[in-house]
């Protein structure tokens, strides 16, 4: 069997004159959890639905497990999907919900129910099979939805914003459950979210999307540390975007000069600096001024006015506190910045 679970080749999806997905290509390896991340309307949900077969591409090819499924309906693919609203059938019991897939595909009813019971037990839902979905808590409902989606050992498990209906407090636990489950069953999973923190926490790789196109694909660390574009830098975490000029092998902006590892360039350029890659040192003759100091419990956040514009700086809680109006020296760590594509 091939190592590539899902492959998109130049996939386009149009609705009338609106292009929801604009010629995207990527591939997902088996056993990987990949997140589609982006603002609303970026095409991430449409991409997920294209994998599920709930939408068919206007152009291009979708392959699942090496097979071209571009014109196959959802029912003719082997995918599992966990919906935002869970979409449990309210008129069926939990076990009927979980055994629905195997039964409707023509399998033996008893075998399907037994397999469903097993899965329910694995997810800590034993004894709830006879209940109706409306009699379960939100967290249990979601686990039933997951059980229902994996009972047929799908080629890929799809999650459409699974945490949006979960209490803020519970989210961390539920997303860890999902990650744990995906590893335990060695599932290929695709996860859609607009929450960058969630994406960083659960993913092997992230596909950042914007306006129907892929902005960048990479591991959470790659995306955070070396965003390739202004959009990605801005969308994932906080970023200071500093505009300046190439001068030989240096990037210069105001009184800032940084040596670029990549060699010389020409003309205007933009770099992205994460707030925690900047160190501040109190200095009466410093070139920058703290304009706002915020205490966040786990860290300090400062707004600093510099010769090359305002900077957002994050400082550990163990550092000496600064106050608004303090003059400071600013130091950007040598490998703490990224040159953005212009």
């Amino acid at each position: 069997m091939t190592e590539t679970a899902i492959e998109f080749v130049d996939v386009v999806k149009r609705y009338g004159s609106v292009t929801a997905v604009d010629r995207i290509s990527f591939s997902i390896r088996r056993g990987e959890l990949v997140t589609f991340l982006g603002p609303s309307g970026c095409g991430k949900t449409t991409s997920l639905r294209l994998i599920a077969g709930l939408e068919l591409p206007s152009e291009g090819t979708v392959r699942i497990a090496g097979q071209d499924v571009s014109t196959r309906a959802a029912a003719e693919r082997n995918v599992g999907m966990v919906f935002q609203s869970y979409a449990l059938f309210p008129h069926m019991t939990v076990i009927d919900n979980v055994a629905y897939g195997p039964t409707i595909r023509g399998g033996d009813k008893k075998a399907a129910a037994e397999r469903g019971m097993e899965i329910l037990a694995m997810l800590g839902l034993e004894g709830l099979g006879k209940r109706l979905p409306s009699e379960l808590s939100g967290g249990q409902q979601q686990r039933v939805a997951v059980a229902r989606a994996i009972v047929q050992q799908p080629d890929v498990l799809l999650f459409d914003e699974p945490l949006s209906n979960v209490d803020a407090k519970l989210r961390r636990r539920v997303r860890e459950e999902i990650r744990d489950l995906q590893r335990r069953f060695n599932l290929t999973a695709v996860y859609v979210t607009h929450d960058q923190e969630e994406a960083l926490a659960v993913s092997d790789r992230i596909v950042v999307m914007n306006q129907g196109r892929i902005a960048q694909i990479g591991t959470p660390r790659e995306l955070y540390n070396s965003p390739s574009s202004r959009f990605v830098a801005d969308f994932i975490g906080d970023a200071n975007l500093i505009e300046g000029q190439f001068e030989g092998t240096s990037f210069v902006a105001g009184d800032l000069a940084l040596t670029l590892p990549g060699g010389p360039g020409n003309g205007p350029a933009t770099i992205s600096v994460r707030p925690e890659q900047i160190a501040l040192a109190a200095a009466p003759q410093g070139s920058a001024t703290v304009t706002n100091a915020i205490y966040l419990g786990s860290r300090y956040e400062y707004l600093v006015e510099t010769a090359y514009g305002p900077l957002l700086v994050s400082a550990p809680i163990t550092s000496a506190p600064l106050a608004s109006g303090d003059r400071v020296d600013v130091e950007i760590r040598p490998d703490g910045f990224t040159l953005l594509e212009s």
Binding site: G53, T71, A73, A75, M81, F89, G106, E135, A149
Partner: protein, 734 residues
């Protein structure tokens, strides 16, 4: 059953098998074949008929053989082959071309007969094989489109869309087109386009003489006058009823709502008959008035006043329901705001309540207007000399002067009037509704009615209640007394036994009564039509609410349009379209069922759309990702969740089929007579007690059947419900 389905799929799908059977095995032509002048025997399949000289039947045969070949070469997904849609499309065009090109008496164009001499003999209507091929080709086209991504690749949805479109085209639009072309022919079948103008401008259509002199107006003007008056009166009465229920402390609100349901299950004619019995020249009330007040007996009830009375009685409940919705939707805080600003009760009503009611009033008026135009039962009983379009159409087709062309022109005029009103109605409802539904609970109490208005409202409603009670008293007792019309109230079962006598003899149960045939047909046709009507209505609702496909806008418009066609027009158009090959089905029970299906599907459709809008779409998507195809999803997920809509549609379809008259009256035959047609015959003969007795029996049957359907469709839902501690949010509100 699942194994059988899988096997069918293995063999290349249902449509390929049906298609092959259609061309190779099944008799192509309608049986028994009418004598078309010797030549080949017409009992053969398309293949044998083609080999016997009817070469025009060869393309479908070749197409199906080609598809079978593709199946052998290409495997189960053979419709995905690029040639399939073209081949199927070409076969469909040639199939339709031969069906319409070569009629009973030979080809439409002489050239065809030279190329294929057998064509000169003509051909009868399509039979089992012919229809099966049409079904197979439609299905193959749908499959091949689905495999190209139509309806997201969902084969069931693609098939449903294509089939519903095909059926609507065949049974709604094609008859109307045939009707339009019939307007251009003389009664002898000679093409003469100028005739349309002659017929259209006939003086007895548009004359305005009744406005100035005392002569009669044209039939179109009559129809319009009746429609406008009926619309105005029904709306006024409906508003009065709505205001009483929503805005007064009237004690018998429940009874009022119950009474308002009655006209829906009342067979046609019976209200007209009851009115005659009450107010006719020898009527009960007329007699008393003569006796007590010396008011002379007249025939005033025949004509406009009588029809108007009967129509207002029938339509006020409809306008009542529309207006009750409007009145209840008015946010009381608006009226309270007006009062805190210093407006007196009447000023508040005039400046706030009334303007908010206006869109609802317009909608109610147009609804009653459309109903009045389409009404057939009341004018034919009470019309006297007052001619309206629906009656004139009927007599142009059924009467001694059979003139389909003239009927067609009248039908086109009626259709145009109705569609215009329908168009206005959708525009009004679409744009001018200020209904203040916010989802918030409305604080505050509705303003009670100002006193003079309250008096006026009671003044309108109380006579209506008395009148309704009077009419239904006649219906209840009229069939079981000697002669209600002459106030001879001696109880008797004579009328009932004339209609429904039976006996357990040596040959078992024997039915002697004269009405048994029509009753059996009516119940049978209604029982067949109700589930089919519901099926196509709910299916169409599912397509409109859930599927996205190219041309959906036009599809919606088409289904909307089919609502608006008056029954009389449908009847005439079916006569025009289905009396001749290729679709020669008049005189069969099928045409009755089909007629009901397409006339009554809108209610199922609307109920279905409303119910579906309450259900989270992702449940269906979940079902699909788990491997259920569109049909399985519909069956296991959608239908159980919209059961109340199915119930509504079933009941409505059944009841309407039992009481329908306007379209059916054209389609009944000696073999398949319907209850309403039978009753009409009795009314025309003046056998009122018999007509009333039969109507009462029909009403009892309807009530019993509604109860049974409720038990069958509703029970499981109720059972499930009682198990739940709290109903899930996704279930539709009942």
């Amino acid at each position: 059953m699942r194994q059988a389905l899988t096997l069918v799929n293995r063999l290349g799908g249902l449509w390929l098998l049906v298609g092959l059977a259609a061309v190779l095995v099944l008799p192509w032509y309608k049986l028994p074949p009418p004598d078309t002048g010797g030549g080949a025997s017409l009992l053969g399949s398309a293949l044998t008929e083609a080999l016997a000289g009817r070469w025009w039947l060869l393309p479908p045969v070749l197409a199906m053989l080609a598809f079978a070949g593709l199946r052998l070469g290409r495997g189960e997904r053979w419709p995905a082959h690029a040639a399939v849609p073209w081949l199927a499309g070409a076969a469909a065009i040639l199939y339709l071309g031969q069906a319409f090109g070569i009629g009973l008496r030979g080809p439409a164009i002489d050239g065809i007969a030279q190329a294929m001499p057998a064509a000169a003999l003509g051909q009868p209507g399509l039979g089992v094989g012919g229809f099966a091929l049409g079904i197979a080709l439609t299905g193959i086209i749908a499959d091949s489109l689905a495999m190209r991504g139509f309806c997201r690749g969902e084969r069931f949805a693609a098939n449903a869309v294509i089939f519903v479109i095909t059926l609507l085209t065949l049974f709604v639009f094609f008859p109307i087109l045939r009707l339009g072309s019939a307007a251009l022919f003389t009664p002898d079948g000679v093409f003469q386009p100028g005739l349309f103008v002659t017929r259209f401008t006939a003086p007895d259509l548009w004359g305005l003489d009744c406005l100035v002199g005392d002569r009669k107006c044209g039939v179109v003007i009559n129809t319009l006058i009746l429609g406008i008056l009926s619309g105005l009166c029904s709306t006024a009465l409906g508003l009065a009823l709505a205001l009483i229920v929503a805005r007064t402390g009237f004690r018998f609100k429940g009874a009022l709502r119950a009474i308002s349901i009655l006209p829906i299950i009342t067979p046609p004619f019976v209200v007209g008959v009851a009115i005659i019995v009450l107010f006719g020249r020898t009527g009960v009330v007329t007699g008393w008035l003569d006796l007590l007040f010396d008011i002379p007996r007249t025939r005033w009830v025949y004509g406009l006043p009588g029809i108007l009375l009967a129509q207002v009685l029938a339509f006020a409940p409809i306008t009542f329901l529309v207006l009750l919705g409007t009145v209840e939707a008015i946010n009381p805080t608006l009226e309270e705001a007006s009062k805190t600003l210093g407006a007196k009760p009447f000023a508040t009503f005039r400046t706030v309540t009334w303007p908010l009611l206006r869109p609802g009033l317009a909608a109610a008026f147009l609804l009653a207007f459309i109903e009045s135009l389409a009404d057939f039962g009341n004018p034919i009983v009470l019309g006297g000399g007052y001619d309206v379009l629906s009656i004139r159409i009927f007599f142009a087709v059924v009467g001694a002067r059979y003139d389909l062309g003239n009927a067609a022109v009248l039908a086109i005029i009626l259709l145009t009037l109705t569609l215009s009103a329908f168009w206005l109605q959708t525009r009004w409802l679409g744009k001018k509704s200020y209904v203040t539904v916010t989802g918030k609970s409305d604080a505050g109490l509705s303003a009670p009615l100002p006193d003079p208005l309250k008096a006026a409202v009671y003044l309108a409603v109380i006579p209506w209640i008395l009148f309704t009670l009077g009419v239904y008293a006649i219906v209840v007792i009229g069939g079981f007394v000697t002669d209600v019309a002459r106030f001879d109230l001696a109880p008797t079962l004579r009328h009932l036994s004339t209609a429904f006598a039976f006996e357990f003899g040596q040959f078992g149960l024997q039915l002697y009564g004269s009405a048994w045939d029509s009753l059996q047909t009516t119940v049978l046709v209604s029982a067949i039509a109700a589930p089919l009507t519901t099926a196509i209505g709910i299916l169409t609702a599912y397509l409109i609410a859930r599927q996205n496909f190219a041309g959906k806008g036009a599809f919606e418009f088409g289904t909307m349009l089919s609502f608006a066609i008056p029954g009389t027009v449908v009847g005439v158009s079916y006569v025009a379209a289905f009396n001749v090959p290729p679709v020669d089905i008049t005189g069969t029970m099928a045409i009755l069922v089909i007629c009901f299906m397409f006339r009554n599907m809108p209610v199922g459709m609307r109920a279905g759309i409303a119910a579906l809008s309450q259900i989270d779409r992702s449940m269906e998507e979940a079902s699909q990702t788990m491997g259920a195809n569109g049909f399985a999803t519909l069956r296991t997920v959608v239908l159980p969740l919209i059961r109340p809509a199915i119930f509504t549609s079933m009941v409505y379809a059944f009841v309407t089929a039992m009481t329908a008259v306007s379209a059916v009256i054209f389609l009944v035959s000696a073999r398949h007579n319907m209850a309403t047609a039978y009753i009409m015959g009795r009314v025309e003969n003046g056998e009122y007690p018999l007509a009333i007795a039969y109507s009462a029996v029909l009403m009892i049957i309807m009530i019993v059947c509604i109860a049974i359907i409720q038990l069958l469709v509703g029970r499981r839902q109720l059972g499930r419900r009682s198990e739940m501690h709290k109903p899930p949010a996704a279930l539709p509100a009942e």
